[in-house]
């Protein structure tokens, strides 16, 4: 049904689905096609010597998945773990990782034309993660480009974790 909705859009202005989640009071969105599953918070095993943005690893049906501290990655203040905290398992460039978020909201449908370019006036590299912004339901969604979440060097470091 959802794929039919996406196919209804014209090729010039495709409708994309975004999984939205809350982080530090703001709503972010990631492409639904890159989201594998959403897990409840489980105990994360820390890995010594791992980069500061790595929380640790979890066991997902026999597979070891590295969990990223999204707040740290985005340069946000650290937060507390609550009952709504989730681990979103994403796949990008053949890599599977988990990102820790405050809560997962809903899947929204956005047209390409509705997405606006976000400013980048800082020297912080984290600004490059923002693909764009979009107004939906009286709030501004910040759309994350997962492909830019980690550099090739950083992916290589994670593989060694």
């Amino acid at each position: 049904m959802a794929s039919n909705t996406a196919q209804k859009s014209t090729s010039d202005d495709p409708v994309l689905q975004w999984v939205t989640f809350r982080l530090a009071g703001e709503t972010y969105g990631v492409n639904v096609m890159q989201v594998q599953e959403v897990l409840r918070y489980t105990e994360i095993a820390p890995v010594p010597g791992a980069p500061n943005y790595v929380l640790g690893i979890i066991n997902l049906r026999g597979n070891v998945v590295t969990v990223i501290d999204t707040r740290n990655r985005f340069g946000l203040a650290s937060g507390e773990i609550t009952d709504n905290t989730r681990v979103v398992i994403i796949e990008t460039d053949g890599h599977v990782i988990g990102i820790l978020v405050d809560s997962v909201a809903e899947v929204v449908y956005l047209r390409q034309s509705e997405i606006e370019t976000a400013p980048n006036v800082g020297n912080d590299e984290s600004a490059k993660f923002i693909q764009g912004v979009c107004h939906k339901n009286d709030e501004l969604l910040i759309l994350i480009e997962l492909n830019k979440l980690l550099t090739d060097t950083e992916w290589a470091e994670l593989d060694e974790v």
Partner: protein, 379 residues
């Protein structure tokens, strides 16, 4: 007949009359009407009297609120039905004597008989009798005034009063020739190229309205930030208006011609991570997202210490950038000669000069807008 006999006859007559008319519920009370509703004590037994009852008694008896404020000289007592003994004294000595079938009723006799019962009615009741009731008050449910039975004089007076009131209420109707014409509304005709076809059958949703406003919004062209050889910017060659703003306790001046819109600071301002510390976030506006600048941090980072809440966002004309400010004052017209223009603008290119009369910095808003655009890597 002697006076005593006369009094007895009168009393008997009234008693007989009252025993026929009064209700079992309130026969002996002077507060109730014959039909049981409340009425003034003065004329309780008179409401069902003959048509010869004067208007004053009739109205006072039946309806407190309907009684007309007749002058006391007009009050007459002409009924053939005798009032209650307790109400007999309500027939004030000011009334004319009532005619009786078998008794010659003189004013004096009536007065005597009433005075006999004067101790029954309190002074308050007499006061009520004297004081007329206001005209136009709502009627009670059980009371009806039969105009056919009212004396002609009282009716005429009633009519005159009504006409007088009507004249006061509708002065506009007195001059039917006065016409109110709506002011002409001049609707600017847009060229066809600028108009967009819209379905008129269905109302637009809020999102559609916002989208329409955003698409219809056409900002004015950006002011040039060029400075001329006379040492003044292009926008300050002649007399121009400035707006005094307050930012974190510091007063600044901005050229009014370089500003766009002023709106209240949105509580839901959306911050973006990875930006400079003077970037506050995106504020939603009809013209789109306004990139909001913490003005104090941008112009004087060395003095900016405490975080505080701004109240307004002043957008730069032609750009989707806005400056957060605390207060905005009325615009002031100034002469370019009253400004000490900067000569060397290599550092702080957003500072145009100093307003001598107000001893505050004049911001070069067009140059500031260019600077912000350059800093945006995604621009």
């Amino acid at each position: 007949m002697g006076n005593k006999q006369t009094e007895e006859v009168i009393t008997d007559y009234f008693s007989e009359l009252l025993s026929d008319n009064t209700d079992s519920k309130s026969t002996d009370t002077i507060d109730s009407n014959i039909d049981g509703t409340e009425k003034p004590k003065t004329t309780a037994g008179l409401e069902k009297s003959s048509p010869e009852i004067s208007i004053s008694q009739h109205k006072i008896a039946q309806n407190k609120q309907d009684a007309l404020p007749l002058p006391e000289s007009e009050i007459k007592v002409e009924t053939t039905i005798a009032p209650k003994p307790s109400l007999a004294k309500e027939v004030h000595h000011e009334r004319a004597p009532r005619p009786y079938d078998s008794v010659t009723n003189t004013k004096e006799n009536v007065t005597d008989s009433h005075q006999k019962n004067s101790d029954i009615i309190s002074d308050e009741t007499k006061t009520k009798l004297v004081e007329p009731k206001p005209l136009g008050a709502p009627k009670t449910k059980d009371v009806k005034i039969d105009n056919d039975k009212l004396p002609a004089i009282a009716y005429e007076q009633h009519k005159q009063r009504l006409e007088k009131m009507l004249m006061q209420v509708s002065p506009a109707e007195a001059n039917p020739q006065t016409k109110i014409t709506a002011p002409e509304v001049i609707v600017p005709v847009k060229p066809e190229s600028e108009t967009k076809s819209q379905p008129t059958s269905k109302p637009l949703t809020e999102d559609q309205q916002v989208e329409q406003i955003q698409t219809d919004y056409q900002p004015l062209p950006t002011l040039s930030s060029e400075w001329l050889e006379n040492g003044r910017p292009n926008w300050a060659q002649d007399k121009f208006d400035i707006l005094l703003i307050e930012v974190n306790g510091l007063q600044l001046a901005v050229p009014l011609v370089a500003l766009g819109q002023i709106q209240k600071m949105d509580e839901n301002l959306t911050p973006l991570f990875g930006q400079s510390d003077w970037f506050m976030g995106l504020q939603k506006s009809p013209a789109g997202n306004i990139k909001t600048v913490n003005t104090a941090k941008f112009v004087m980072p060395e003095r900016y210490k405490n975080e505080h809440d701004y109240k307004f966002v002043v957008s730069i004309n032609g750009l989707n950038w806005g400056l957060a400010v605390d207060r905005i004052h009325q615009p002031i017209a100034i002469d370019p000669d009253s400004i000490r223009w900067r000569v060397n603008r290599s550092s702080r290119p957003w500072m145009a000069g100093m307003v001598k009369d107000h001893m505050c910095v004049l911001l070069d808003i067009p140059s500031m807008g260019e600077l912000l655009q350059q800093q945006d890597k995604n621009h």
